[in-house]
């Protein structure tokens, strides 16, 4: 290696190290501040009770309404988006294989809608609600968040399914498999852990978003009570608590953020476990 190559190597190595630690440091600061402010206010009462009267002025109660609401909404939307998104991703990669231009157009459109801010989905969901005569409700929230996370779900699955080697597809076709067998037996198995990551990513986006649910799911201090009733969500709960002038309530907002972070952590550890387990055994189904 010449001297200039050595310098170049050192320079870029340093740059990469700095960039990595910079990002890690910022993440650490965010998590630290959530912990630091949240841990003081978190309590059993907060996790197990709904807000009492005057909760937002510092009186008793908790955010169980928002925890359960967010879980119901995010699980519902993720499930729905998976049911719609999985076939779309498979269709793109298995059935449209001879139509590269159509695939390119669909991918482009999906990337485009991925970038639309969630408040626009919220507004769109709201106008749909009015059209169908629906009130702010869990159902309307689920539908809007589904629309919002669909492009994320489809494109991240699509990126994984793209990587199924053509040789493997040829091997499966040469045995006489038809396209649905290739889609459901070969593509889904080969990409199982990637599909889980896609679902997880969508779930994280769905549970963490405030704007899409603002007009559609509404807000309530009661526990979720059926698909057609309004439902509270953690992001909005955090927003309302942060807007309070009372410092104690602001700290509760951080505690709620901590709960949201932990939910995402638990869900992602759990699904990673499932993915790993599957890789070890490659379940026979």
């Amino acid at each position: 290696m010449t001297r200039s190559q050595k310098i170049e190597e050192k320079f870029f190595k340093l740059l990469m190290i700095l960039a990595t630690y910079f990002i890690l440091a910022i993440l650490a600061i965010i998590i630290y501040s959530i912990f630091e402010k949240g841990i003081k206010s978190i309590s059993w009462e907060m996790l197990t009770q709904v807000p009492h009267g005057g909760y937002y002025y510092g009186k008793g109660g908790g955010i169980l309404n928002a925890i359960l609401g967010s879980l119901a909404l995010a699980f519902g939307a993720t499930l729905l988006a998976f049911i719609i998104g999985m076939p779309v991703a498979l269709y793109l990669n298995v059935f449209l294989i001879r139509h590269k231009k159509v695939i390119a157009i669909i991918r482009f459109l999906l990337d485009l809608v991925w970038g639309i801010p969630s408040i626009v989905y919220g507004a769109f969901g709201f106008s749909l609600m009015i059209f169908f005569g629906l009130q702010t409700s869990l159902l309307a929230g689920i539908l809007t968040v589904t629309l919002f996370i669909l492009p994320i779900m489809i494109r991240s699955m699509d990126e994984i399914l793209c990587t199924v080697p053509i040789g493997l597809q040829e091997a499966a076709y040469s045995l006489g498999s038809n396209k649905s067998e290739i889609a459901f037996k070969i593509f889904t198995r080969q990409s199982f852990s990637g599909i889980i990551t896609a679902v997880l990513l969508s779930f994280g986006r769905g549970i963490g978003d405030a704007a899409a649910v603002l007009f559609t799911a509404g807000y309530t201090d009661h526990l979720p009570n059926g698909l057609l009733e309004p439902v509270a969500t953690l992001p909005l709960s955090i927003f309302f608590q942060l807007s309070s002038p009372v410092p104690e309530v602001q700290n509760r907002a951080y505690a709620s953020a901590l709960v949201l972070t932990l939910i995402i952590l638990i869900v992602s550890l759990f699904s990673r476990g499932v993915g790993k387990r599957y890789h070890k055994t490659k379940i026979n189904f």
Binding site: I97, R98, H99, K100, P165, I166, G167, L168, Q169, E170, A171, A172, Y173, S174, L175, G176, S177, N178, E181, K185, I186, R189, Q190, T281, K282, N284
Partner: protein, 253 residues
């Protein structure tokens, strides 16, 4: 000696955009023989093989014209029974691609596609095909492991067993030993020689010694043209074309 023709290729042209990959190919492939297609890289051997079981359908950029008669059926015109048609042929590719499931299920999947669902029969046939591919003794205790854990050589033999399990009449092999160690390669070659009594084998290779060892019939291709074809004795012993002589002499690879 009279042998009947299993596959007859007439005026086959394949192009991708403006590039002509195969030019007016005419080949007769005899039944129950090993026909070796040889030639330097990029001469269209693999494309020719993919035409035979219509894997070319997966590549929209390829235009295929001409006739490929298998028995009395022009497979380039067959529309509906393409999946059935592919089952007449077992494919062995350059690199083994085990399906993402257990060793046992790799074979059982192929059997299911052939319509065998009975458990006992499946058991029996899985064992039978693994024996045919010379793999049974090594892996009989590991049938429930994922196929990806086998060595490359074992994976290739698993792929062969899987290809046989759909009960084909023809075996298509595309440089099946190029990724394998010498011992695994020998296993595959021996298996081919044993199998040719029941199957018609088309083998693509650029290993001349391999061609000489196991071929009955040889087709020499160069840049999309068939330069020479005939029995192995004719082509290796007394090549007629200048290009064949040069290739066999090792002048180009």
């Amino acid at each position: 000696m009279y042998t009947s023709t299993k596959i007859s290729i007439r005026d086959l042209n394949v192009s991708a955009g403006k590039t002509q990959i195969l030019k007016n190919i005419n080949i007769d492939i005899p039944k129950n023989k090993i026909t070796v297609i040889m030639g330097p890289s990029g001469c269209g051997k693999t494309t020719l093989l993919k035409c035979l079981n219509r894997l070319t359908d997966l590549y929209p950029e390829l235009r295929v014209n001409g006739q490929i008669m298998i028995d009395d059926n022009n497979i380039l015109e067959a529309k509906e029974d393409i999946y059935k048609l592919r089952q007449q042929m077992g494919l062995l590719s350059q690199r083994p691609y085990p399906l993402p499931m257990t060793i046992y299920n790799n074979i059982a999947y192929a059997l299911k596609l052939r319509g065998i669902r009975n458990r006992r029969e499946t058991h029996k046939l899985v064992m039978h095909y693994l024996q045919q591919a010379n793999l049974w003794d090594e892996i009989r205790t590991r049938l429930r492991e994922p196929a990806s854990r086998l060595s490359i050589g074992q994976q290739q033999r698993l792929c062969l067993a899987r290809g046989l399990a759909v009960n084909p009449e023809i075996i298509l092999a595309d440089e099946p030993t190029s990724a394998l160690d010498p011992i695994s390669s020998q296993f595959i070659e021996e298996t081919f020689v044993r199998l040719k009594h029941d199957y018609t084998i088309v083998l693509v290779t650029h290993v001349l010694r391999q061609a000489r060892r196991i071929a009955d019939n040889v087709v020499f291709m160069y840049l999309g043209d068939v330069i020479e074809q005939g029995s192995v004795e004719e082509v290796f012993g007394n090549p007629k074309m200048e290009k064949t002589k040069l290739y066999l002499g090792g002048t180009f690879n």
